[in-house]
Structures are given as C-alpha cells and as structure tokens.
C-alpha cells in the first residue's frame, strides 16, 4: 500500500511515520502550515523545519498554507490530501493521533470522502511509554512550544531525555498535563530520527515566551552528517 503521512515535524507524526514504514511504503509527507498559532488541528511552531526533515527522510513533501480558521482548515487539509492522492497515488494516510477523538474523527471523515485508508499507529498508546520508546529508539526531539501552567520558558529548546520524561509525568500527576502534549500543552520538533539520513543542526534561534505560553523559534537550521 502507498501511504502519505500527515506530517507536522513533531514527535508523534514522525514516530507514526517510522511505525508505518515498517509495514507499508511511505511515498509523501503532507503538511499544513497554519497561520493561526492556536490551530485546533495542526502543530504550528517551526513547521518550516518540515522541509529539512523531508529532505533528511528522502520523502517528497506537500506543504500547503491554511488560514487556520476552525473547521475551515479541514477543507484545506482535504484539498492537500486530494492533491497527494492524485500526485502520488496514495491508498491512504497515516496520522500521529494518540488520544484526540476530535482530530481522528475529522481525519477519518475526510479519508472516507476521498476513499482513502486511514491509519493511526500510535492510537491509545500509553503516553509515558511512548516518550520512553522515542528516546530509546534514538529520536532527538526538542520542546518547541509550551502552552500550559506551570510550563515556562525554561522548557523551551530542551531535548527530551528520560529525566525530562519523568518530569513531564510528574506534571501530569500534579497538574493533569498530558505528558506527550496531545492536549496542546507542549509542541515538539524532531531534529534527528532513525530514518533521517542526516540530522538537523540549529544554527540560530530565539525564544518568544510570556508566562506559561511560548515558542522556540528556529531562525536558521541545516542538515549535517550524523
């Protein structure tokens, strides 16, 4: 089966890609660049990094801009998926949905309309186990956005390691924050992964944070040998 991955460049869609690639052929990545920083559907910080990630993966990228208006952005996604279906003859798509019924319902409906298979290989996974698995399998993931109390600017740009996983799980116990950030509490960017032929080096960045909300903005990045 030829599949496209709905790809944000964050840990979940990148890991879903790896799982899917063990079973099926991944022929394209589909990315929506949302102008709305509070998009319900799409991961937003550093979405520009997806171009470097796609290059490192050696998989073509279909990137489309959406205004990011709730529900309207789904039409933009449907359009991008239809383009992928035509251009790459995909049979279906893969998403990184773990818990969000909101997200998966909407993508399943689009797939149904376009007659595409829909796969969610991380669906219902235990989030702590998922994070540990990512670290264990050599994914290098940085925190690129924080959007909930008591997270603050000190978390931005940090690479997720086992200690950080424990700290996130601790926050789940105390504050109900989803450790994998699927409630939108944190956003992540993958700078290296097993399928990457090269890794991403961040040459320049800035942090834009206020209180418990902030983003780590990559201003300049490049691919370097692993």
């Amino acid at each position: 089966m030829k599949l496209g991955v709905l790809f944000s460049g964050g840990k979940d869609s990148t890991y879903a890609l790896h799982v899917a690639a063990e079973h099926e052929e991944i022929v394209c990545l589909i990315t929506l660049v949302s102008k709305n920083k509070e998009s319900y559907m799409f991961h937003t910080p550093n979405i520009e990094l997806t171009k470097l990630q796609a290059e490192a993966l050696g998989i073509p990228l279909i990137a489309r801009v959406t205004e990011g208006v709730k529900e309207e952005e789904l039409k933009d996604l449907e359009q991008a998926m239809a383009e992928a279906a035509e251009q790459f003859q995909i049979d279906g798509v893969v998403t990184g949905a773990v818990e969000s019924v909101y997200q998966s319902t909407r993508i399943q409906r689009i797939c149904h309309r376009l007659d595409l298979w829909c796969f969610n290989p991380l669906w219902k996974r235990n989030q702590k186990e998922l994070l540990k698995e990512l670290v264990g399998r050599g994914f290098k993931v940085i925190i690129s956005g924080i959007f909930a109390y008591p997270l603050d600017a000190s978390w931005l740009g940090k690479q997720i390691d086992l200690d950080l996983v424990d700290r996130l799980v601790d926050l789940e116990n105390k504050f109900g924050i989803s450790p994998s950030g699927e409630g939108g509490e944190i956003e992540t960017s993958v700078i290296d992964a097993p399928m990457f032929s090269q890794k991403i080096e961040i040459a320049d960045y800035c942090v834009n944070a206020k209180g418990n909300s902030g983003v780590f903005i990559v201003k300049e990045a490049r691919l370097v040998p692993k």
Binding site: V19, A20, H23, E24, G92, V94, V101, T105, Q108, R109, C111, H112, D115, L116, W117, C118, F119, N120, P121, L122, W123, K124, R125, N126
Partner: protein
Amino acid sequence: MILVVDMNCEKNSLGYYEFVLPIISIISEIDECKAKHFMDLRSEDTRQCNGMILSGTPLKDNTTLSQLDNFEWIKTWDKPLLGICAGMQTIGLAFGSRLKGCIGIGMTQINTTKENLLFSSQFMAYTLHNFSIIPSGDFDVLAESPQCVQAIRRKQRDVYGVLFHPEVRNKEIIQRFIYAFNDHRRV
C-alpha cells in the same frame, strides 16, 4: 486467558496497532492475554482461552465479511465472546443476520434497549463503521444509536457484539466483559 482475534485483512498489518493493541492493553491490566490473526486460529488457542474478543478494523477493511468460512466455529462456540465493530458484523452474519449500510464516524449517543451485563442507560461512544446489521432471530438488540443497531447478544448465550469501539472511550465495557465471566477476578 483472553484471546484477542486480529480481524485486519492481513497478519502484521498497520491496523494492528490501532484496533488490536488498545484492546490488549486494557485486558493486560486484568487478565492474561494472547492475540492471533483470524487466519491463524487453531483449536488449541480456542481451547486454552476463557473468553475471546474479535477486534475491529480500519473503515475500508471489510475482509472478514466476505470470508465467513473462517468463522464457522462461531456457530458452536460456547465460551464468552465479544465482537467489536467488524467483530460484531461477523458474529451477526455467522447467524444469518443481514448487513445494513450505515456510516458512523465519531462520538455517537448510544441508547441501551435491553438490560445487560456490559452497559446501561444512555452513553457516548466512539464509532467507525460503514455497516450495521439487521439481526436475525438469534439475537436480542441491546443498544441502538439514532441511526442503527449498536449492540447485540445471542439469545441465552454469552455472545455479544458492539458496533462502537469501547476501547476508545468506554474501556469499562471491556473490563466488565472480562469480570463478568471470570468471577475469581472480580474486584
């Protein structure tokens, strides 16, 4: 031991992670669990288990509905059995029910129509189906959505089918199924 039957169109499919693994996770908190693809079911597997759950499949995968030869055993099955989505459709067809086109994607209101061990009253559940069934006389209807039959039970038997996916937002239904037929594990 509870046996989970992988109803995906092929072994080691990508659908396994989404439709089989979440059921295994719920069972493993309570009981021993083993998974087998429906093509690989052997009599020793079915002999060893205390009960069985048939998984769902991706929306586009209706393979088991045209491969009923692989499910002849359901007709004489005498242990607890729960079919989820494609699993319920397959159980229904094995006993002469008919498929009815009915699309359901997302959270849906389920209304209990007959008292049973697994659920009661009204509740919301996650659905992902192209078909429901028109049950044959072998079944009682246990629940409906505004669109179609959502749960059945074979009369006088511990054979259940739910069209919705309890592993997504109603895991207590799977827990009750296991507890109901494993008294020693009841909490």
